[in-house]
Symmetry: C2
Subunit: 333 residues, 2 copies
């Protein structure tokens, strides 16, 4: 890999794409050149990178010529169609969609957990689901110490996880309600303002959504733990940014609360925010814009023999997407 790789961002105008640009800047990623790619609809717009204005180009068969690293965040369909093209052109693809995550030939990587997996890539490295990445930032260090068997989790997911148009929808609905107008819903099937929707991604025949099964499926692969089980309810909430997750986790070994706190306080990419008597616990509003995830409300689970109950919050556009993708790219340089 070139020490100053030529980077392309596919889906540059999206909520995650914009964060990828900012994250490359913030982390001083040694970008040789940056190419911004998107659909025809966004082509012609421009975005700033390190003080320069870069035009967004339409994604075409020649887009990946000379590209060393292609960061994809334009949906699974685009990744499936164009990811292999980028690999053929010589790029390593870091894909934020779900298209390749469970593909056995594709590493699925959270750098703080399984960085070494990235090195065995065959052209594509997958970035995990946002909720999975944020949850595992706290769960994996506990797993290393106590051996996690299963978790019961409920999520509180921000609208920006759906994309930029969902942010606009929430803003519009709040304005419509304040002006006594009818509420219009196009992105979500129901009003999201002042409501919560137990519906993220599409439903599987078993009754869980695809999103709800990602923690188990992706968690098994990332943690190299094929018997890990996770029962999850994913819920969209009227929060603009940062996901939160309430977790009851059962472990093989007895859990010592103080040791768990110590382990989490030393875990990379994670801040322990846990002083409830002083009203200190992770909050999506405080996790927004932060690279680190936050864990708190740590307590011995009252309904499990070897269990911990805790609460995690993290910026799903950063650790749940753009930051994790750029961290993977950093492993390649």
């Amino acid at each position: 890999m070139n020490n100053n790789p030529h980077v392309a961002i596919v889906g540059a105008s999206g909520a995650v794409g914009v964060e990828m640009i900012r994250t490359l800047e913030r982390r001083n990623f040694p970008v040789g050149s940056l190419r911004l790619l998107a659909s025809k609809r966004s082509a012609g717009k421009s975005l700033n990178f390190r003080g320069e204005t870069l035009a967004i180009e339409e994604l075409t068969p020649s887009s990946f010529e000379g590209v060393d690293i292609a960061l994809f965040s334009a949906g699974g369909g685009i990744s499936k169609e164009w990811g292999p093209e980028a690999v053929k052109a010589g790029a390593v693809v870091v894909d934020n969609s779900s298209a390749f995550r469970l593909d056995e030939s594709v590493p699925l990587v959270v750098p703080e957990i399984n960085a070494q997996d990235a090195l065995s890539h065959q052209g594509i490295i997958a970035n995990p689901n946002c909720t999975t990445a944020i949850t595992l930032m706290a769960l994996y260090p506990l797993h290393q110490a106590f051996g996690v068997e299963r978790v019961f989790a409920s999520t509180y997911q921000a609208v920006s996880g759906t994309g930029a148009q969902a942010i606009v929808e929430l803003e519009n609905q709040v304005r419509q309600l304040s002006q006594g107008e009818d509420v219009s819903s196009e992105v979500y099937p129901h009003q999201i303002a002042f409501n919560v929707l137990p519906h993220v991604d599409s439903f599987l025949p078993e009754g869980y959504t695809r999103e709800e099964m990602k923690l188990e499926n992706e968690g098994r692969k990332i943690m190299h733990h094929p018997s890990f089980r996770a029962s999850v309810t994913c819920v969209r909430v009227p929060v603009y940014r940062a996901h939160s997750i309430a977790i009851s986790a059962e472990f093989q070994q007895p859990v010592d609360l103080q040791r768990a706190q110590d382990i989490l306080s030393r875990a990379p990419g994670l801040d322990v925010v846990d002083d409830p008597q002083q009203n200190q616990y992770p909050l999506p509003l405080l996790a927004s814009g932060k690279d680190h995830c936050q864990v708190g409300r740590l307590r011995v689970d009252c309904a499990l023999e070897n269990g911990l109950c805790f609460w995690v919050a993290g910026d799903q556009l950063l650790k749940g997407a753009a930051l994790n993708a750029v961290q993977i790219a950093e492993l390649l340089v």
Copy 2:
């Protein structure tokens, strides 16, 4: 008990008090006379009941003279101080606070579950916690069929559960943010608009909040099930009205999904809203103002041997408070 009992509402001007008045009207409760009681601050205001304007009176030692049923919803302190006074004056107290719920001499009643307990009262009957009542409306019928052992639950609780001043706080914060003003928080320790707070009620030494332990403590008493266990995370969300709860429940006996659906569809006070492919599931916005709770997202739990995962929503001012209290009063007449 008088066939047309004289009723007093203590805390008549609060969010629950107002719903008690509306519920007495809607259900044609045979009110002989109605006395509205509140603190000095609210005394002098007036509210309508069956087309008549009733003045709110200040709560004094003579307030309960001639009262047959006193519905209390003015906080635990008022209940502890004035509940026994009302009993001495000859009234039966239905108390919506947590003051007496775990008192062995006080029945704790959800009429659809343990109506018979109400009949053995010694002057005070307690109304359960809102989240507990709503959760048990779905859990108890399943318990009867399959024998519940434990649940893992996360809540999505509306601000009106805190009281009328929390509704105003959310409205104000939304307006402040839309006008670019600083956000002021007085009711909650953090901004609630576009945020979620894993903090409902005060913290216990074990790390759970008092609210989080109510499902286990009150559930044991209401279901007559002393070994029932519940690990709960209670979260306040920017929803005006109606609580939602995500639940993984483990049972003694194997659970058949179709049988569970049939049982819930026949359960009193509960509507099954469960057609996810058509985007039909319980929503706080749709449960608001409804007497019935809603259950949906019913699925075999993927991390439990005999488990069900489901989602309940209910109006916490109605089934979680005023409606349940009036239903208890109905048992007395």
